[in-house]
């Protein structure tokens, strides 16, 4: 079943430049990982930002369970789709625990106890509960990423969008991320990832799209796998 679908997405940042996205159609099925691959500037990050509703001036439709993502309230969107940015965007003045608990308290109106319990459960499942009281800016890249994943999942998001998740990680953290993704998939989280890291993409590939100059140039699983092998 398709969880998130995009139909005829067109996006231009300025009239004088070629469109950033052109005639994009995609599906992100439930409980699977979908990759958006391509070189820098191919449009994969723009597409992910459209799905996260960080870019809204596109034409076409992006639907979440057949409802336009643009029409959802901020709270509904946060409860549906989590976004882990390339540079994680943790709140540096808050502790790890507060990074995960504060959005629940403010947006989902959870009590302090419930929000912190949920945050600690998720931090524990990602192996970083011992960092709960550390400041966000004291963490390594891999630790920051896991906090960002925990923060998104604390909002009960069913889908997780990850923009270039390996760009700031060393090989060890990349291997840990692979394990986290596999665990999340087992828990039924739907994941969409934009990446230009082919060895990482190959290691978690299930289905995906190749983008070039803002267009999807390949969506066949077999052909993408053959391309990755070569």
């Amino acid at each position: 079943m398709s969880f998130i679908t995009g139909k005829n997405i067109q996006l231009s940042y300025s009239d004088s430049e070629p469109p950033a996205l052109s005639d994009i159609n995609f599906e992100i099925p439930e409980g699977r990982v979908t990759l958006f691959m391509g070189k820098s500037g191919s449009g994969k990050t723009s597409l992910l930002r459209c799905i996260a509703n960080l870019v809204t001036n596109y034409t076409g439709d992006i639907l979440f369970h057949d409802k336009a993502i643009k029409s959802l309230s901020k709270v509904e969107r946060a409860k549906s789709i989590g976004f882990v940015a390339q540079h994680f965007n943790l709140f540096p003045h808050l502790s790890v625990l507060e990074n995960c608990a504060q959005p629940q308290k403010l947006v989902l109106k959870r009590s302090k106890n419930i929000a912190e319990k949920k945050a600690l459960e998720l931090l524990e499942s990602l192996g970083i509960a011992h960092l709960a009281n550390k400041s966000a800016h004291q963490l390594s890249g891999g630790q920051m990423q896991r906090v960002a994943i925990a923060r998104a999942l604390c909002m009960d998001a069913h889908a997780l969008l990850m923009d270039e998740p390996t760009s700031a990680l060393d090989p060890e953290s990349t291997a840990q991320l692979r394990e986290i993704i596999k665990t999340l998939l087992k828990q039924g989280v739907s994941i969409a990832i934009s990446t230009h890291d082919m060895s990482f993409a190959k290691s978690i590939f299930d289905r995906g799209y190749f983008l070039e100059s803002g267009q999807i140039v390949e969506d066949s699983k077999e052909r993408i796998q053959n391309y990755m092998q070569s």
Binding site: L54, K74, A78, A85, N89, H93, P103
Partner: protein, 211 residues
């Protein structure tokens, strides 16, 4: 002689503190509002241009003229006389609001857009994002500049003497005219200013460490 001058100078210092503190409070309120309405993320078209024009006028003209305008010209426009101290407070507020709005705008613009985006994807409303995420970070950046502005305000309040406010400089000048002891009186006046500005710096430093 110092014994007789000191109580008068301290009394005058209270008026300096009153004028500066009120100027700082009103200036901060309007400065923060204008800074918010003109920062990149919250820019209100039309309003932000008006604020830019206001800031250009205030920063490009002497505070002396602004004070004379408020005390002598404004009553003609509104048809109501303004007493010297309120006129001084209005002039200080107008002046500091312009500088503070630029400080606040700069501080807000220095926060990476990713912080706003994280708030957006987590479902924060704009006011929640501002109160819990953006302003606490921006405050840390702008605190030294705000301290500087408040210290400047204390020192610039001496200009209120020209419209007859009995603040510190006016009082010291009156005492010197009577006692003919400029070295002692002006040195003491300078010392009182130094204590006031150092106190502001001390508490701001404490606040800086706390956040």
């Amino acid at each position: 002689m110092i014994e007789s001058a000191l109580p008068l100078l301290l009394k005058a210092a209270l008026i300096t503190i009153e004028a500066s503190a009120l100027g700082a409070v009103f200036g901060s309120v309007f400065g923060v509002l204008m800074g918010l309405a003109s920062c990149n993320r919250l820019k209100v078209p039309g309003i932000s241009q008006l604020i830019a024009a206001y800031v250009t006028i205030i920063r490009g003209t002497p505070m002396f003229i602004q004070l004379l305008f408020v005390y002598f010209a404004l009553p003609e426009i509104i048809g109501v006389d303004i007493a010297p101290l309120p006129a001084g407070v209005i002039a200080l507020s107008i002046n500091s609001a312009a500088y503070l709005s630029e400080i606040v705008r700069g501080g807000l613009n220095s926060i990476p857009s990713g912080q706003w985006e994280a708030c957006e994807t987590l479902g924060y409303s704009t006011s929640q994002a501002l109160i819990y995420i953006i302003l606490p970070q921006a405050l840390k950046t702008v605190l030294p500049a705000i301290t500087n502005e408040f210290s400047t305000l204390i020192k610039e309040s001496s200009i209120l003497m020209v419209i007859g406010v009995p603040e510190l400089v006016k009082t010291s000048r009156d005492i010197v005219a009577r006692e003919l002891k400029p070295i002692e009186i002006y040195a003491l006046t300078a010392l009182i200013y130094l204590i006031m500005t150092s106190t502001v710096a001390f508490f701001t430093k404490k606040l800086e460490q706390k956040i």
